[in-house]
């Protein structure tokens, strides 16, 4: 049995819904990892949240196109709007915080710690 690139590719094909669901799962886990791991800047945490949103909408679109129902794409559109609103407010809060404290390192943000 000869191992070749085309044989490997053929065993993984054709591209199905499972591929997209696995990809979005991976993306979601990477976003979660970003939330856990990142102890430096709030701004990178916001980016990790954006990745989570992307994973969610990728799932919506994959199922929408697999089932031939456009409703999933409508909801992906609403996810996009929500993500835009979230990032706007998040960055505004960040700017205000930086103006008051001159730092947005996560270790410095501990005012609410008792």
């Amino acid at each position: 049995m000869s191992f070749s690139f085309s044989a490997m590719l053929e065993s993984l094909l054709p591209v199905s819904l499972t591929h997209y669901v696995l990809l979005s799962s991976t993306l979601f886990v990477i976003g979660m990892l970003g939330l856990f791991l990142n102890r430096r800047h709030v701004i990178v945490i916001l980016m990790a949240v954006e990745l989570l949103f992307l994973a969610a909408s990728m799932n919506f679109i994959a199922f929408s196109s697999a089932s031939g129902d456009l409703t999933g794409q409508v909801f992906a559109l609403f996810i996009l709007a929500t993500a835009a609103a979230e990032v706007t407010i998040g960055l505004a809060i960040l700017v205000v915080y930086y103006r008051n404290r001159a730092s947005i390192a996560i270790d410095d943000i501990s005012d609410l710690k008792g």
């Binding site: 696995l22 886990v29 990477i30 856990f36 102890r39 992307l54 990728m58 559109l77 390192a105």
Partner: protein, 211 residues
């Protein structure tokens, strides 16, 4: 087991794996790179590749929207903030690195669970979405954007308007949060000027005539 694949399926597979690789690599880099500017640019690359995958699945409108909204607007917003704030690039210290094993363990557990649900379930994802009897379309299908518009402006009209309201609120919120009245700049106050003396009054000066 091996079924003959059409050239289209082979190409589709190659394109999918290329874009999927770019997405995963860029997303991982977003999480681990030190420089926030690099993180923003890598996030843009990830979103761009996802837009390509959206278009591949027939969601052209959302794919292009993703490029316009994320690459055109949100990435610029992020870059503005990253460059406006003087963020030091800090190295990870040992105390921070002690979270890494736990985070990796939780993440791999989550990934294993998700993959197990998708791969090991006896009812495959395709079967889940397979409807018992798909209703026959009563009219010929139009292109993706038109169909989406027909759906948004009929069934989801209220939700769509609420989404618009949400965006308006976000805009107002951002302005209210970041706006400040500065005391160190000279600024005309007409009310104060007028109240200073009774003789002073505002005159509308005709053009080329003078006072």
């Amino acid at each position: 087991m091996l079924v003959a694949l059409s050239p289209f399926q082979l190409t589709e597979g190659l394109v999918f794996f290329a874009f999927a690789f770019v997405i995963v690599a860029c997303a991982l880099s977003v999480v681990v790179v030190r420089n926030p500017v690099h993180a923003v640019l890598l996030m843009v690359a990830a979103f761009f590749s996802s837009a390509a995958l959206f278009i591949m699945q027939g969601a052209e409108f959302l794919g292009l929207l993703l490029i316009i909204v994320y690459v055109g607007a949100i990435a610029v917003l992020f870059l503005f903030v990253v460059m406006m704030l003087d963020i030091r690039i800090v190295a990870t210290t040992k105390s921070r690195r002690k979270h890494v094993p736990l985070a990796l363990a939780v993440a791999s557990l989550l990934l294993a669970e998700l993959a197990a649900v998708v791969l090991l379930d006896t009812t495959s994802a395709e079967q889940m979405v397979a409807k018992p009897s798909p209703p026959a379309p009563t009219r010929p299908l139009l292109d993706n954007t038109t169909e989406l518009g027909l759906l948004i402006y009929s069934d989801y009209l209220v939700v769509f308007e609420i989404a618009g309201l949400l965006l308006l609120l976000a805009m107002l919120g951002a302005i209210v949060l970041t706006h400040r009245t500065r005391d160190d700049v000279a600024r005309q106050s007409i009310a104060e000027q007028k109240a200073r003396s009774e003789k002073a009054r505002l005159v509308k000066v005709a053009s080329k005539d003078g006072v």
